[in-house]
Symmetry: C2
DNA sequence: CGGATACTTGATGAGAATCAACCCGGGTGG
DNA sequence: CCACCCGGGTTGATTCTCATCAAGTATCCG
């Protein structure tokens, strides 16, 4: 269940001082800090009310197709975003870590498109949809950070395609791990030591494979010396080799060297 | 090549009167109209300069990894968004039609993440990145429309996952056609008569299949009486049947009826 | 401790990638 | 104007990967 903490962020965790933020080049942590800085102002101001929610592992933060009047920014922990087909099959569309936004998709027509489930005990900052514009207008830095974040989110949408583009199961898994590694790095975690918070089945769903295949491919990569796998604790031993596996696409046939040519058309 | 039309949009095509726009429930056409309304203001104002570009079929509007200082809104025509792997294999991530935004992904770190190629002679409205905030601040309706549009774009990111989730080739193609149909409807086109602007190979890349498989699956659907296929002219004869094929997922095994349960955790 | 879930491993079959040949239409150049 | 070429599309034969079914082990929960 979700537990609302009435505590505003005030000086919740003033870790690093807010950077000057040249245009849009801010790291992902900044939005959280900015929201922290904004929080007490907001607490005073009537309209907006920022709260931190605790989300227990396995709890569903947002429900698919539920009315969307909240936006969430992940503060700690992790989530999986899923979409459930009519036949009940649930497909994992992606994962969300610190400073990722959850629920923005619902702004289009007031209903969430995806559901989000916590993979571990997590905390999120809740932003009322209506307060969004006000906040953005009042705080330019926050506005830019938000814009930047959305762009990143949109760019990440390509990740799933990238992962699916590789036909070979091993390549898909390798790509997933590379992605995960770089995202963990972006969150300030180790890019080599990966603690998988999601089940094999979640990964399988994300990659469009059977969960048995994940097991097998993990073993293949492990035997190849790329990884050390112990349960959900995965260490990348040979990043080069892993990347090499990730690179391997089918074919590379069909000389796709035409874009430059098409451009001159 | 791209031909810049200095002509501002002024009263370019004042088709339907701009709706009052309750919150965010606006159709996709509205952003274009709003931009049209804004255009002459912008022309007068110093900072912003809205231009319409012509993009010839096959021309590349934005290049992957190129510096991103422009944002484009599709005014007519269509585009494919692609990402090229290191080995030269180009993967189609999605398609863009009227009122879709191209290039927002570049706002994160000033470099476009995807490339966009025109599938037919098209026109786009070019928005300088720097002018974006100004415009949004000045015109609330436009701000909301933009927010709505981005949300929609984000939601569409789930489309590709949805399509890939189906293992069976026929199901993937069926889903693609269903998606296409509804998007064409959203653009004011016929949802039954689909004029495919993209090649079989593009579709194959989008669906993660071989282009031969597209041919075969088209035939299967055609023989099943769902479609009438003539070259790139596809007519949906039996939408029900098509949707039925689209629904069929592998398994539906692995009782994924746990979300409701997990929620109560 | 017992039940359930997560994970692993093996055997088998279906389905799609691949290779190859072919047709068709449009554009180019002679 | 015709011949040619090339990219797009279709179809067939073969190969091989991965989904599926099945059984078994490990692990976490109450």
């Amino acid at each position: 269940m979700l537990t609302a903490l009435p505590t505003p962020l005030s000086h919740a965790r003033s870790a690093s001082p807010p950077r000057s933020g040249g245009d849009c080049q801010m790291g992902p942590a900044d939005l959280i800090e900015l929201l922290g800085g904004v929080a007490d102002l907001a607490a005073r101001s009537d309209t907006t009310r920022l709260a931190v929610l605790r989300v227990a592992r396995g709890a569903m933060l947002v429900h698919e197709a539920a009315p969307a009047d909240m936006l969430y920014v992940v503060r700690s922990g992790s989530f999986k975003c899923i979409k459930t087909a009519e036949d009940g099959y649930e497909h994992v569309l992606g994962f969300a870590w610190r400073s990722d936004v959850i629920g923005y998709d619902g702004l289009a027509d007031q209903r969430y498109v995806f559901a989000a489930v916590a993979l571990e005990d997590s905390r999120v900052i809740a932003l009322p949809r209506m307060a969004l514009r006000t906040l953005r207008l009042r705080h330019e830095a926050l506005d830019l950070a938000f814009q930047c974040l959305l762009a990143r989110q949109l760019a990440h949408a390509g990740d799933i395609a990238e992962v699916m583009a590789a036909v070979a199961a091993d390549a898909r898994l390798a790509r997933f791990l590379v992605q995960l590694s770089s995202r963990m790095a972006a969150c300030g975690q180790s890019p080599r030591r990966l603690l998988l918070r999601m089940s094999r089945r979640d990964i399988a769903s994300y990659l469009g494979l059977a969960h048995e295949t994940i097991s097998r491919s993990l073993r293949v990569l492990s035997d190849a010396g790329c990884l050390r796998v112990a349960e959900r604790d995965v260490e990348i031993l040979d990043a080069q080799a892993l990347r090499r596996v990730a690179r391997s696409t089918r074919g590379a046939a069909d000389d796709e060297v035409r874009p430059a040519l098409a451009c001159a058309a």
